[in-house]
């Protein structure tokens, strides 16, 4: 009896295992990925960020990015639930703000005017915009009723020197910063993988040429190279064009490392019998390279790429901070950091440093996701 009982837990998980055998690679990867909580959290954060910063900043932020107000350098407006009379409001509200000028130091301070109460509305009508560039709307996720009182304003993360809502600026800035990471990495992936595959498959002179080129590119110190290339962008170009050229530059300098890793993988994969089998079945070189060998490198490449996106975002941030990347009036997290990068700004408007946690969380999320992917994409490996 004891033996029977002991064998019970041994046989119980068998059906689950059995089911796993018949599953496709993708579902195995997903199954393993799901079990890694940290990676799932990273993924969820990134999906949320990309959705809200890239696609929906117009809706989520209360104002247009260029909406300036009289409240220059105003600090974050506190949210209240309980008014002066001690009455509890289910709907949070903000008080109106009054500007005071210290005549000695010429510093502006803001005090709450408790007589004016502006309840926070959700899905309020505000600055008009075009969603996805073509749907005209004026709905904002939250805000105060500005139509009835133009003095009403809500600044969750304070305002900059022009009285623009900092939260709005972070939202819009995230769009460019997150996109540059993604687009730039996509280009890097494209160049790096294609050149790495060709380099590893043919070897010889082609290999030499490609590998020496990557070495040549990687011997340059990055920042001066960026500076030189960014300086080459004509100043009369629109900021948007400059932005795309910057993306190209970033990926152009960075494909070398990926190409080298892909080459190494291809060098071993091309000796596999299935490459020979494909050749004996009449497949062309291009077909063998890109249909049979390249997929074998993909799990590696995806992980490398995921872990490299943060460095792309950071590179953009660094360049823009140096004033070489994205230029105002376009907003990116680098541009926002540049605004905050002075002792005066840190002293007077410390809330401008709110950009930093957003950058940190993004990069952390990418690393969490990348680590999870690395484990998940090798579902047959131990662990």
């Amino acid at each position: 009896m004891a033996v029977l009982e002991q064998s019970q837990p041994m046989t119980a998980p068998a059906p689950a295992k059995q089911k796993k055998v018949g599953q496709s690679y993708a579902s195995l990867v997903w199954w393993k990925f799901k079990r890694n909580r940290v990676a799932v959290v990273g993924g969820v954060i990134l999906i949320t960020f990309y959705l809200s910063f890239v696609f929906l900043p117009e809706i989520i932020s209360p104002y247009d990015v260029q909406h300036s107000s009289d409240f220059a350098e105003a600090g974050p407006t506190p949210l209240h639930f309980v008014d002066q009379a001690g009455k509890f409001h289910l709907q949070p509200f903000v008080y109106g703000m009054e500007q005071k000028l210290d005549f000695k130091t010429r510093a502006r301070t803001y005090v709450e005017d408790t007589t004016r109460i502006y309840p926070i509305h959700f899905f309020v009508h505000g600055d008009p915009y075009k969603l996805f560039g073509f749907i005209p709307l004026d709905i904002h996720l939250y805000g105060v009723d500005q139509k009835s009182d133009p003095q009403a304003i809500v600044l969750l993360l304070g305002a900059d020197a022009l009285g623009r809502d900092w939260f709005t600026r972070i939202m819009y800035g995230g769009r460019l910063s997150l996109l540059i990471g993604l687009i730039g990495q996509f280009l890097t992936l494209f160049f790096g993988t294609a050149l790495g595959v060709v380099s590893g498959f043919y070897g010889g002179a082609v290999d030499q040429l490609i590998q020496r080129t990557t070495e040549f590119l990687s011997t340059f110190p990055e920042i001066p190279l960026f500076m030189a290339l960014a300086a080459a962008i004509p100043p009369y170009w629109s900021p948007l064009a400059a932005y795309f050229v910057l993306t190209l530059i970033l990926s152009f300098v960075r494909w070398g490392g990926l190409a080298r890793q892909v080459r190494g993988l291809i060098l071993s994969l091309r000796e596999r019998e299935y490459a020979l089998a494909a050749k004996s079945a009449g497949a062309s070189d291009a077909r063998i390279m890109f249909r049979h060998l390249m997929p074998g490198t993909m799990s590696h490449v995806v992980v490398i790429a995921t872990l490299a996106i943060p460095s792309m975002i950071l590179a953009e941030t660094a360049l823009s901070w140096l004033g070489l990347g994205i230029r105002p009036p376009l907003t990116s997290w680098g541009v926002l950091l540049q605004d905050a990068a002075s002792v005066r700004a840190i002293h007077n408007t410390p809330w401008e440093l709110w950009t930093v946690p957003f950058i940190l969380v993004t990069i952390l999320a990418y690393n969490m996701l990348g680590d999870g992917l690395r484990d998940a994409l090798d579902p047959y490996g131990a662990r």
């Binding site: 596999r272 004996s280 079945a281 009449g282 997929p295 074998g296």
Partner: protein, 364 residues
């Protein structure tokens, strides 16, 4: 049947494949001549490294990098099906084709299929079984394998690319032909979900999906266990009959070759040393090397119990420093001093369709 009795499909003439490596030149194949008849099985046997696989690779013009075909010809008697009615006969010199060109790629897989020793690693791990077969079909724009008498459909489909559904159907049909159970489900399996024997069947299915004129089987059952081996051999024999395909069967397993081949070529150090019909070779081997090979097979139920297996004395010679005269002479039990180490033997006909390359049978 009678018309295909002695119709050559591939003629390898005086082929030499050399590898120019740092330590010198290795002759992987050295003056090999053989003929593969249409619809027949040619067995090629020999020790490891005697040039069997290189010959196969040379036929597909797929000699790996430092290797080169320095001499000889491989004549392929190509037969192009034209609308299933008339046949265009064409003679192609395979060694003269551009190894990456369009013609050789059409021939590879389309007209000469190949299956490898390692079924475990011959399938690209990221694709399903079905997509492997579909790729072979798509590469050669082939139409489904049809039953005899299905002429009308053949006419209609002769010059049409197959659709996805048709292609899948072909894949299922091919899997069924090679005896894979539940082909409709297996067509969506990935290679790692199949056993070794099933994978080798898939390889055969891929090779056969284009109805090649020649199937080169390079030790196709070496990695499989004996019962699976027997099944695979059965399948190959069966399919050979149904599509009138020639097989070049490379192995070092004498038992397997005895049951498969019509004719056998014995190779030693890149040279053919004996060629004969299968029964003739096993009953009446002439070359001392062949005799030694046959002796080294263990026999069940032999009277002498506890005796040691016969082995060939000596070692395979250093490929950089081949012996003079007959390359086998240092290991040969019939070594004739002054003759074998000086004169290279040439083909001698000892019987009807039985040639041997040995000085014992040559009058010098």
């Amino acid at each position: 049947m009678s018309e295909s009795l002695s119709e050559p499909l591939i003629e390898v003439k005086d082929l030499r494949v050399e590898f120019d490596v740092r330590a010198g030149i290795v002759k992987a194949v050295d003056g090999l001549t053989l003929t593969i008849q249409r619809g027949k099985t040619l067995g090629v046997i020999g020790e490891s490294g005697c040039g069997k696989s290189m010959t196969a690779r040379a036929i597909l013009n797929m000699i790996p990098k430092p290797g080169k075909i320095t001499q000889g010809k491989i004549v392929y008697h190509r037969r192009l099906q034209n609308n299933g009615q008339s046949q265009l006969d064409d003679i192609v010199e395979l060694t003269e084709l551009d190894p990456d060109g369009k013609v050789i790629r059409e021939i590879r897989g389309g007209e000469i299929g190949m299956i490898f020793q390692e079924p475990m690693s011959s399938l690209t791990p990221v694709y399903t079984v079905g997509s492997h077969i579909n790729e072979a079909v798509a590469l050669h724009h082939l139409t489904p394998v049809r039953k005899v008498g299905d002429q009308l459909a053949e006419q209609v489909m002769a010059h049409r690319q197959v659709t996805k559904e048709e292609s899948r159907e072909i894949a299922i049909k091919m899997l069924q032909r090679v005896g894979i159970p539940k082909p409709t489900e297996r067509v969506d399996s990935y290679p790692h979900q199949l056993s070794g024997g099933q994978r080798q069947r898939v390889m055969i299915a891929i090779a056969l999906s284009c109805e090649p004129a020649l199937l080169i089987a390079d030790e196709p059952t070496t990695a499989l266990d004996v019962s699976i081996e027997a099944q695979i051999l059965d399948i190959m024999r069966e399919l050979q009959e149904s599509v009138n395909m020639a097989i070049m069967f490379i192995t070092h397993n004498l038992g397997v070759i005895a049951s498969m081949a019509d004719e056998i070529v014995v190779m030693y150090m890149g040279k053919a040393v004996e060629r004969a019909k299968v029964v003739d070779l096993f009953k009446n081997a002439k070359h001392p090397y062949t005799q030694a090979l046959l002796k080294s097979i263990p026999h069940l139920g032999k009277k002498k119990v506890g005796g040691r297996l016969a082995s060939i004395s000596g070692m395979v010679p250093d490929p950089f420093n081949l012996p003079t005269g007959c390359v086998f002479h240092p290991r040969c039990p019939m070594f004739m001093p002054g003759k074998c180490d000086q004169i290279a033997p040439s083909w001698t006909k000892v019987d009807e369709e039985h040639w041997v390359s040995c000085l014992l049978y040559e009058e010098v």
